[in-house]
């Protein structure tokens, strides 16, 4: 083969690529950030421009996605069985923490970033509830072991990944207030897991009866 033909052949592919990106642009005409086209572009069958224009465009996170754990609580209910809303924060009020302070998450945590103080009864006996619960998110490696090994489904991995901050000593130590999120939030971000947990719980209760 004559010198240079392989090179030209290679340029054919780059030229095709350039052309394809403009095809995408014409599809986009007038709509700079379009959800439908974005999804198409990012799928396994997508072609043309592949770049995500973050933060205008964001890739959807899959259900299994994991950053920094949170604690699941059952909300306090009113007489109609609806969760009570705390007027100050707009969050559902904490009825009962699912966490029993058994300490498995803090034992399995590879970088040891979970700190738990177990609650005591007035007589000074340990109570299955956390009095304090800290996660040092500077140390947390987002491995998800705590959520995986929790026997009570009370610690789960969050989907919030934009964690940048101006200060690291107070705001990067998540205490029980920051960590606690209602069960409805867990159900929203982990629909499949939630359904499986509910099914398991229903089966257990049916067995008890």
């Amino acid at each position: 083969m004559a010198f240079g033909l392989g090179l030209l052949n290679g340029l054919k592919y780059t030229a095709t690529r350039v052309f394809k990106t403009y095809v995408g642009d014409f599809k986009h005409l007038g709509r700079r950030y379009d959800d439908k086209l974005f999804k198409e572009r990012q799928s396994v069958k997508g072609s043309g421009i592949f770049t995500v224009q973050y933060p205008e465009e964001k890739l959807p996170v899959p259900e299994n996605f994991r950053v920094v754990p949170f604690l699941v609580y059952e909300p306090a209910l009113d007489e109609n069985g609806k969760p009570l809303i705390d007027p100050a924060t707009g969050k559902e009020m904490i009825g009962k923490q699912k966490c029993t302070a058994c300490g498995i998450c803090s034992k399995v945590c590879p970088p040891q970033c979970i700190w738990i103080v177990r609650a005591l009864t007035p007589e000074g006996k340990p109570k299955p509830q956390p009095a304090e619960f800290y996660i040092d998110i500077d140390i947390c490696m987002n491995c998800g072991s705590c959520a995986e090994f929790c026997p009570f489904d009370s610690i789960k991995m969050d989907h919030v990944y934009e964690l940048a901050n101006y200060e690291r000593h107070v705001s990067h130590i998540y205490d029980i207030g920051v960590l606690s999120k209602p069960a409805s939030y867990h159900a929203k971000i982990h629909p499949t897991d939630w359904a499986a947990e509910e099914a398991e719980r229903a089966a257990k209760e049916a067995k008890k009866k």
Binding site: F3, G4, L5, G6, L7, N9, G10, L11, K12, Y13, T14, R17, Q42, V44, K45, F50, V61, P62, E63, N64, F65, R66, A101, G103, I104, S106, K107, V108, C109, P110, Q112, I114, W115, I116, V117, R118, P126, E132, Y134, D136, D138, I139, M141, N142, C143, G144, S145, E148, F149, M157, H169, I173
Partner: protein
């Protein structure tokens, strides 16, 4: 040209059995063997080099997989793993004892040049001297470092307890900020009488050209010692190359590593077995799935369990997807180093992103997968995963591989830059313990997936691509060919993909591993990733050592670069495909 294994004579003893090898050694060196068992052969320290040379020359143990050491508190033990590339099979273990005070053993560099960096690492971290080593200096830590961190009595900054989990975390775990937990309130310890301000690094480290080399210099020029890196983008991370130059010609390269050192081994020993899994992601962060697999295989060897069928298939699928994306990006990086800035690399990134999407949807994270478990995998794959994976494997990735080959391998400028550059001859490649595509490009038909099949690789039909000359071009096309072979394996695995369980036994957060030791390995995209694990029967490993293929491949860099131009050196380094997370550990 591929090298085929010679047919063994019918009554050749089985040299994969350490007992038989020990008997063979005894016939030649009657006093050399202290004891032998299935775990390995303990050799007298003063006869180690003779025994190693005998094994190398006469029993064809031509490949030194791994050198490491164990601190048994009353003595040190240096552990060597040797394989015969022709025979294949599991490596045999050779051990030497060293005294607790001033430990020293003979160096094996005269026999296996691949021992060079590994012995320096053992000296650096464990403080065992290797007599006869040509350049015994610290390698991962700096010269002014005090102590030997892998010894059991060493306590690092931020030391809390011997083993995790730490008692302070539960059930009275009042949080303390990490800086306040450091008992020295400082990250650095200096030797006694050390003046950090007056410290000057020893000057004799700089390579000096000897008289013969100086006479051979054709240019009337001064020798220049150039420090290349550690922040230069072409060094693939924080690697420093001390290059001796004559004009533009390279006369010597010395890689200086350790900028990313965190003592993975020591962290591993403090950790539990389960807790080590996410740390293996951070070795070679391009191939976390394959790292997970090699570690899981090693611990499963000790536990004596096997994952269920479905989990085995998932593991193979993940490992092969990893290989494809790693090679695609590695080829892009080689082009980057050649001066074709970012176009091929970004093209390769596109498919890589799609593969990482699959990892993210299954394991939860794109790069730090933490996916394999002892006896299975963490989560089952969904039907959506299989559908997407099938489309990728059957349609998109083969198409992309063809495209990539057309615009990268066909390019004449690439031919002139890559052919006969950075040649690593076959015998040198073996002697330097290089692994993976670098070894195969030099014409050695050796792949652990075939030589010692792990997981279910023995069920798949695939070839081992090899090169002929061991130049840069070969290392490139071997990777392209391996991408095709990966797709072949993936196709078969997806066709046979069974239903069923993904985990053997119950999930346990503190797996107690039976007493014993194991060297497990996997064919990572970069080469042989090995784990040497010693368990004392608890939930924490007594010794945990990683054989990083990138680190050991770097040993051969000097010989590959000498005589070529400095611009070639950068591409040669790129063709080794190193990742600093694994080099520095």
């Amino acid at each position: 040209m591929s090298v085929t294994a010679p047919v063994a004579p019918p009554n050749t003893p089985n040299y994969n059995d350490p007992q038989i090898v020990a008997e063979q050694i005894k016939t030649k060196y009657p006093d050399a063997v202290e004891s032998s068992s299935a775990q390995g052969i303990v050799v007298q320290s003063d006869q180690l080099r003779e025994v190693a040379r005998y094994l190398h020359d006469e029993l064809a143990f031509d490949y030194l997989n791994n050198v490491t050491s164990v601190d048994w508190q009353d003595r040190f033990e240096v552990v060597y793993n040797l394989t015969s590339l022709e025979r294949g099979g599991a490596p045999i273990t050779l051990k030497v004892n060293a005294a607790r005070e001033n430990p020293s053993v003979p160096s094996l560099v005269p026999v296996f040049r691949g021992a060079d960096f590994q012995e320096r690492e053992v000296y650096d971290l464990m403080g065992i001297r290797f007599e006869g080593h040509p350049n015994l200096r610290r390698i991962l830590l700096w010269d002014g470092f005090e102590g030997y961190p892998l010894r059991k009595d060493y306590k690092e900054p931020y030391y809390e307890e011997e083993k995790k989990p730490f008692g302070s975390r539960w059930d009275k775990g009042h949080h303390v900020i990490a800086e306040d937990r450091n008992p020295w309130h400082d990250n650095v310890q200096y030797p006694s009488n050390f003046d950090a301000v007056a410290y000057k690094p020893p000057r004799d480290q700089i390579q000096v050209i000897d008289a013969a080399q100086a006479a051979a210099m054709r240019l009337r020029t001064d020798k220049i010692v150039l420090n290349f890196g550690p922040q230069h983008p072409s060094t693939h991370g924080v690697l420093r190359l001390r290059v001796t130059l004559e004009g533009e010609t390279v006369r010597g390269v010395e890689p200086i590593v350790g900028y990313l050192h965190r003592n993975h081994d020591k962290i591993g020993e403090r950790n539990t077995f389960v807790g080590n899994m996410p740390y293996t992601d951070r070795l070679d962060y391009f191939t976390s799935m394959a790292n997970n697999l090699a570690y899981a295989l090693t611990v499963e060897k000790l536990l004596g369990i096997k994952p269920p069928e479905r989990a085995e298939y998932i593991r193979v699928i993940m490992a092969e997807l990893t290989r494809w994306q790693n090679h695609a990006v590695a080829l892009g990086f080689i082009y980057n180093d050649l001066g074709a800035f970012y176009t091929p690399l970004i093209y390769a990134m596109e498919e890589r992103e799609l593969i990482l999407d699959l990892f993210e949807a299954t394991a939860g994270s794109r790069m730090m997968c933490n996916y394999m478990r002892f006896g299975g995998v963490a989560r089952d794959v969904t039907d959506d995963f299989i559908a997407k994976c099938k489309y990728l494997v059957n349609e998109r990735l083969p198409r992309r591989t063809d495209e990539l080959e057309a615009y990268m391998v066909g390019n004449e400028i690439f031919h002139s830059r890559a052919k006969n550059i950075g040649v690593l001859p076959r015998d040198l490649a073996i002697n330097y313990s290089t692994a993976g595509p670098v070894l195969r490009a030099s014409g050695v038909k050796y792949d652990i997936r075939r030589a010692e099949p792990y997981s279910i690789y023995d069920r798949f039909d695939f070839e081992i691509p090899t090169g002929t000359t061991g130049d840069l071009y070969d290392r490139f096309i071997v990777r392209v060919a391996e991408m095709r072979e990966s797709l072949k394996i993936l196709k078969q695995a997806l066709d046979q993909f069974p239903a069923g369980e993904i985990m053997t036994g119950k999930k346990n957060y503190q797996v107690r591993v039976p007493k014993g030791e194991a060297y497990g390995r996997g064919e990572n995209p970069k080469g042989e990733l090995g784990f040497y694990v010693v368990s004392d029967g608890t939930a924490n490993p007594y010794r945990y050592h990683v054989r990083g293929p990138s680190f050991i491949n770097l040993t051969a860099l000097n010989d590959m670069c000498v005589g070529y131009k400095i611009a070639d050196m950068i591409v040669i380094l790129g063709s080794l495909d190193i990742v600093m997370g694994e080099v520095d550990r």
